[in-house]
């Protein structure tokens, strides 16, 4: 069960011709796939396209009705490989994953697919995780398109454009026998808007029909001599066919006046930002009608020489607005300019920054700079000579703390790293590597555990240099998602084969949690369409690990610490693998809270735990926070002039996971914590006994109070 359910939104995927769809970009893409007769879909979750996978999973019923096969692939490589079905069969297929990391993983399959060429339209929808909100290295997917000759679409970030790009992508793919990547940036994935629907279409050929009539063609296999032919085919046939299709069908768009001495060229994804900058300069109206010609590249690869040359032929200067580095598009245009002996001044990264997101301010500054050079008269007066300085706003850069992401309230991974921190206090600092996933937050304060991440499922592999062991053992961490994605073979298998002496901790939270709680092989949930409940320990033992420990409640910090200690000190040779399992709290709460609330409402006995801190016992040293960082464990400044420092405080968002009490115990911190279980709908016996006990306790309390000075509570 994914973090977010699209059960309601999926109903909109049934809308027919003439009806208007209103919603998120991700859903629009799904609808467009169905309208274009896709035969099979797949992918691997990851922001910003996690929700696309969730939508597809929630839409399985509808997909089934249409004869569309949905596969939640094991990795991006697996997803890209699935497109092999479109090599021989005239079936449209689409897969999705995040970029560029997903494209990295998928590149082997993508390169082979591109060499073979496709018969049915093959669409790779990539969520470009770049700029604010991104969680990965800042790179571009563009060179993957260039190196493998895959076409790259970058539509304007509005629903009608994105929907059109899906159809264009399939057509372009089929017209040129080439797979097509469709890029959507983070905000475009989640942008809301409307478009007019068409009817959903069944695929011309379903995968079932294809199975009944297998086809093969050795000329499509990437083996010499066919592979040499493929390269020439790409250049001699597929590329020209693509250019022809792009030009004839107007995939790229032109806005603004027909002629002018200046012009702007932008990636489709940059279009709204360009228009906003022009609007702020008074050079475009609310509907985007621009006073400066714009050549909008909805296809950023291949670039069409004839279109470019035609656009710039009457212009003194053009500005290429291309986000990310290096400037592949600008370089290609420079080649066109030189080859064709054009006179136009080509601007781009000289006026816009080479690196970083093109935010509103960057865009405004870049376009202003270009206009200052080529058409200063166009600029509003104040731009040319700003007169009034803005009022000075106090500088808050030293005041406002950074707020990086971290473990959620009650996260089961927190106690694992608390235990690891405690073990290191005892045995000294260790070489630790992380992986991809929520557990990577452990490298941030307060835990500061682990110092590298090399890729999904590669945590233990990235400690391979230390596999030979030494005075201290290396520790690596990998999540259950990473483990099944790639970790079993690349990391654990690698450790076994190389007789590693290191320790690997597999963090099993029952889901691919970081990407939104999708089920994976070892998930504990029953999933009607997927095989779950395949234990990680079985897999690990299956590839030959002898020392395996399973922990079923990560919140048991003393036990967690004990097992880590054992793994780091045991005489036993070979890899030491610890599987630490507890359910992702975000998903658990989502699952259990409604059930619990209903039970309380129905009069059933329910205990609701929550933690608290005794204010007069806490001394405000914050040692507990340095082993937690839980959002619900915060600070409170007491109205007590005798106290200098704020004390620990647990707010009402506490879910009673137990970490506070366990850590206080394991690290011998202090006796300030208490757990209070509020008993809803207590039994009559319980109430009676509680009454007697509480009465006795009250009597004892007042007996003592009567004999001494009692001060009124002030805190």
């Amino acid at each position: 069960m994914a973090e977010r359910s699209f059960a309601r939104e999926v109903q909109d995927l049934r809308l027919g011709k003439g009806e208007t769809f209103t919603g998120e970009g991700i859903l629009a893409i799904t609808k467009a796939l169905l309208e274009n007769g896709v035969g099979y879909v797949g992918g691997y979750q990851g922001a910003p396209i996690s929700h696309l996978m969730d939508v597809l999973a929630d839409a399985e019923e509808l997909l089934g009705e249409l004869g569309v096969r949905f596969e939640a692939n094991a990795s991006e490589a697996a997803a890209a490989a699935m497109l092999a079905a479109s090599v021989h069969y005239p079936i449209r297929g689409a897969v999705t994953f995040k970029a560029p990391v997903g494209v990295n993983v998928a590149s082997d399959a993508l390169a082979n697919l591109a060499s073979s060429g496709v018969n049915g339209g093959a669409l790779i929808i990539i969520g470009e995780d770049y700029g604010e909100g991104s969680s990965i290295m800042q790179e571009r997917s563009h060179p993957f398109a260039m190196k493998s000759q895959i076409w790259l679409l970058d539509p304007r970030p509005s629903l009608p454009s994105i929907v059109k790009a899906v159809g264009d992508g399939f057509e372009l793919s089929e017209a040129s026998n080439t797979p097509v990547m469709l890029t959507v940036r983070i905000r475009a994935c989640h942008v809301t808007g409307s478009f007019e629907c068409r009817d959903n279409k069944r695929p011309k050929m379903t995968v079932k029909q294809a199975l009944a009539e297998p086809r093969k063609d050795f000329n499509r296999v990437v083996l010499p001599p066919a592979s040499f032919v493929h390269e020439h085919d790409k250049i001699d046939n597929r590329w020209p066919a693509a250019e022809k299709y792009i030009v004839e069908n107007g995939l790229n768009e032109f806005f603004g006046p027909d002629s002018s001495k200046i012009g702007l060229i932008c990636q489709g994804g940059m279009y709204n930002g360009v228009i906003r900058a022009l609007q702020r300069l008074g050079l475009a109206d609310i509907y985007g009608n621009s006073q400066i010609p714009i050549y909008c590249l909805n296809v950023t690869y291949p670039l069409v020489d004839s279109e470019f040359t035609d656009f710039v032929k009457d212009k003194d200067g053009v500005l290429v607005i291309e986000e990310g580095q290096p400037e592949f598009i600008e370089q290609a245009f420079a080649t066109f300019v030189l080859r064709n002996g054009l006179k136009v001044r080509l601007h781009g990264k000289d006026m816009l920054p080479m690196a970083g997101e093109y935010t509103g301010q960057v865009m405004l500054d870049g376009i202003t700079g270009f206009l200052k050079e080529h058409a200063p008269d166009l600029l509003p007066g104040q731009m040319r000579a700003p007169n009034k300085p803005a009022p000075a706003i106090p500088d808050l850069s030293k005041t406002v703390p950074t707020r990086p992401p971290g473990f959620c309230t009650g996260c089961p991974e927190r106690p694992i790293f608390a235990a690891m921190k405690l073990v290191q206090e005892e045995l000294g600092e260790h070489q630790i590597t992380g992986d991809i996933g929520c557990h990577l937050f452990a490298c941030l304060p307060p835990f500061e555990v682990g110092g590298s991440t090399m890729g999904y499922g590669l945590g233990p592999a990235s400690n391979a240099a230390f596999d030979g062991g030494g005075d201290k053992r290396a520790i690596s961490i990998v999540g259950d998602g990473g483990f099944w994605h790639n970790g079993l073979s690349s990391s654990i298998g690698n450790m076994v084969f190389n007789k590693s002496d290191s320790v690997a901790v597999i963090v099993d939270n029952y889901y691919s949690a970081a990407t939104g709680g999708q089920d994976i092989l070892s998930s504990r949930a029953n999933n009607a369409t997927k095989s779950t409940q395949n234990p990680i320990t079985d897999a690990v033992k299956g590839v030959g690990v002898k020392w395996v420990r399973q922990i079923d409640r990560t919140y048991d910090v003393p036990k967690m610490r004990e097992i880590l200690h054992e793994a780091l000190t045991t005489e036993e040779t070979g890899p030491k693998v610890i599987v630490a399992s507890s359910e992702c709290m975000l998903n658990r709460q989502r699952r259990e809270k409604p059930i619990r609330n209903k039970a309380i409402k129905d009069g059933l006995r329910v205990e609701v735990p929550r933690f608290g801190v005794d204010e007069d016992i806490c001394t405000g040293d914050h040692a507990c926070i340095r082993l937690s960082g839980c959002p619900s464990l915060s600070l409170k400044t007491l109205d007590d002039p005798l106290r200098d420092d704020p004390i620990a405080h647990i707010d009402q968002s506490c879910v009673g996971c137990g970490n506070c009490g366990e850590v206080a115990d394991a690290a011998v911190l202090c006796p300030s914590f208490y757990r209070a279980d509020v008993i809803h709908n207590a039994t009559w016996y319980e109430k009676l006994w509680q009454g007697v006990t509480a009465g006795t306790i009250r009597w004892l309390q007042s007996r003592r109070a009567a004999k001494r000075l009692e001060f009124p509570e002030t805190v």
């Binding site: 922001a47 942008v191 809301t192 985007g288 106090p394 005041t399 950074t402 006796p671 509020v678 207590a682």
Partner: protein
């Protein structure tokens, strides 16, 4: 398309001013998505074209995140071109779901005096970096408030989180109410409420919080800056108890009134703390010590030393031992406090305490001579560890466990004979002697030495670390004793000691001191 030959500036499209740009800055998990959906639904219901974006993903788990909405009247069925991200200097409404996020919005230039209505909740969700320092690392809300008053065109600022909680809802409802009440969007109240109703989840509670926030936004839109909390009057601090004890207490408070005026209030707080910790006789000892300090003090220095001594001597005398913890855990007022905090009403509450005694605590509870003997014997200590050193969960709502703590808490009469008490008394005496020795020559230095007591806090290892930091600072203080700026250096050392757990900053500061004074 028009053919335009000469490039000439034109009047900007007037319709551009109809675009409303609204950004929401929140902490992951605050329900920014729900709020965004409501705003969109409201705008669309009023015939506006509306576009929203967010950056959902793992990078937002509990981290800072942003939602962005643009809207404009739908003209002739043609949709305007909206931006997908806010720009500095180009935001009409900024909703900050937390005080430092308001600060971040100002820092990023999203709040400008020419146009921005800033709607911010003043409550704090502390960042890890603020919480984990051993001292007080909480960022200044007042600085953000001051900046907001300059930066915003219109300011609506109050604690929308507690307002939501009071109404059984979450902050998205109260933020939405404040937005509606601000009048920043040209829609009637009913349109906002209809959006909440249509969402169909927790509607009644959401509407209550919405309504409360709407009213606040319309009336007292900005909470006054936190005024100095009214200090509890001396009378309010008066205890209740048997007449004989009350007479003793009266005698002690009379002594407080004989102290220099600037120290009286703190002394009353201190007295209260030590008497609560032990008894009136202990309170008399407190007054003895304080009066000795006061005798060395003078009006020219404003009696700062006495006031600081009143605070820190009390803290030193009311140390955290097993008896104190057991006593505090079994008081009736505590049980009431927990019930209120948990909002349990008349439902039974089961309590679990987390105790982890070590050999040191057990030995500390022994009579001084016996405890010292055990402590000197590693084998004996190892035995104590074996017997006692493990996590103990005490279910204090049950009579047996309660009685155990109750009996322990009742050992106050015996406390003066324990090894721990002996240690604390000796430590206190050494410290005060050092202070007293310094007053005559270097008043400010003595004050700083008194303040160093702040470093000692926590239990077990944390307490030991605090003690060692205290010792280090006191030793390093000797190096700068004769210097004009000696007091400043002690203050600096103390601040350094509070910066991190392991004392790295302190060690660095001591090296600096050594470099010129060693």
């Amino acid at each position: 398309m028009t053919i335009q030959q000469a490039l000439a500036p034109r009047q900007p499209d007037e319709k551009l001013t109809t675009i409303i740009k609204l950004a929401i800055m929140a902490v992951g998990g605050q329900g920014g998505g729900v709020l965004t959906n409501w705003i969109e639904a409201t705008a669309r219901s009023q015939g506006y074209a509306c576009q929203a974006t967010s950056v959902a993903g793992v990078a937002q788990r509990t981290g800072a995140t942003i939602y962005y909405v643009e809207m404009a009247p739908m003209g002739d069925g043609v949709a305007p071109v909206f931006s997908l991200a806010p720009s500095a200097g180009d935001v009409d409404v900024l909703i900050a779901a937390e005080m430092m996020e308001a600060g971040r919005a100002i820092l990023r230039g999203f709040v400008t005096p020419d146009r921005t209505t800033l709607i911010a909740s003043t409550h704090r969700a502390l960042a890890v970096s603020e919480k984990m320092v051993p001292g007080d690392g909480i960022a200044s809300s007042d600085e953000v408030r001051a900046a907001a008053e300059v930066a915003a065109d219109k300011l609506i600022m109050f604690d929308m989180d507690s307002l939501a909680i009071q109404n059984g809802s979450v902050i998205s409802s109260s933020l939405f109410g404040a937005l509606a009440g601000s009048g920043a969007l040209p829609f009637p109240r009913e349109a906002f409420e209809a959006a909440i109703r249509a969402s169909g989840k927790g509607v009644e509670a959401s509407l209550r919080a919405f309504s409360a926030a709407y009213d606040r936004a319309q009336n007292a839109a900005v909470d006054p800056a936190q005024a100095d909390q009214a200090k509890p009057a001396a009378a309010a601090l008066a205890p209740e108890g048997p007449a004989a004890l009350m007479r003793d207490w009266q005698a002690l408070t009379d002594r407080v009134l004989a102290l220099p005026a600037p120290a009286q209030e703190m002394a009353l707080h201190g007295l209260r703390k030590v008497v609560k910790f032990q008894d009136v006789a202990y309170g008399a000892e407190y007054m003895d010590r304080l009066e000795e300090i006061a005798a060395l003090d003078d009006a020219a220095h404003g009696f700062v030393l006495t006031a600081e001594a009143a605070k820190y001597i009390a803290n030193a005398m009311a140390y955290d031992d097993v008896i104190r913890v057991a006593d505090l855990k079994t008081r009736g007022a505590r049980f009431d406090r927990i019930k209120a905090h948990m909002g349990s009403g008349d439902r039974p509450v089961a309590l679990t305490e987390f105790m982890h005694p070590r050999a040191e605590e057990i030995a500390g509870m022994m009579p001084a001579a016996m405890g010292a003997r055990w402590e000197a014997n590693p084998k004996a200590m190892a035995r104590l560890d074996r017997w006692f050193n493990k996590g103990r969960r005490l279910r204090t709502h049950k009579l047996g466990n309660f009685l155990m703590l109750y009996v322990l808490g009742g050992l106050r009469g015996y406390r003066r004979r324990t090894l721990r008490h002996k240690y604390e008394q000796e430590h206190l005496a050494r410290w005060l002697d050092t202070v007293k020795g310094a007053v005559a020559g270097h008043y400010a230095f003595a004050v700083e030495l008194i303040r160093c007591r702040r470093l000692i806090k926590g239990y077990s290892d944390t307490h030991a670390r605090g003690l060692s930091k205290f010792d280090k600072v006191m030793q390093a203080a000797e190096l700068v004793r004769a210097r004009e700026d000696g007091a400043d250096w002690v203050a600096r050392l103390r601040e350094a000691a509070l910066q991190d757990e392991k004392g790295a900053a302190l060690d660095g500061a001591i090296l600096t001191v050594r470099s010129f004074a060693g």
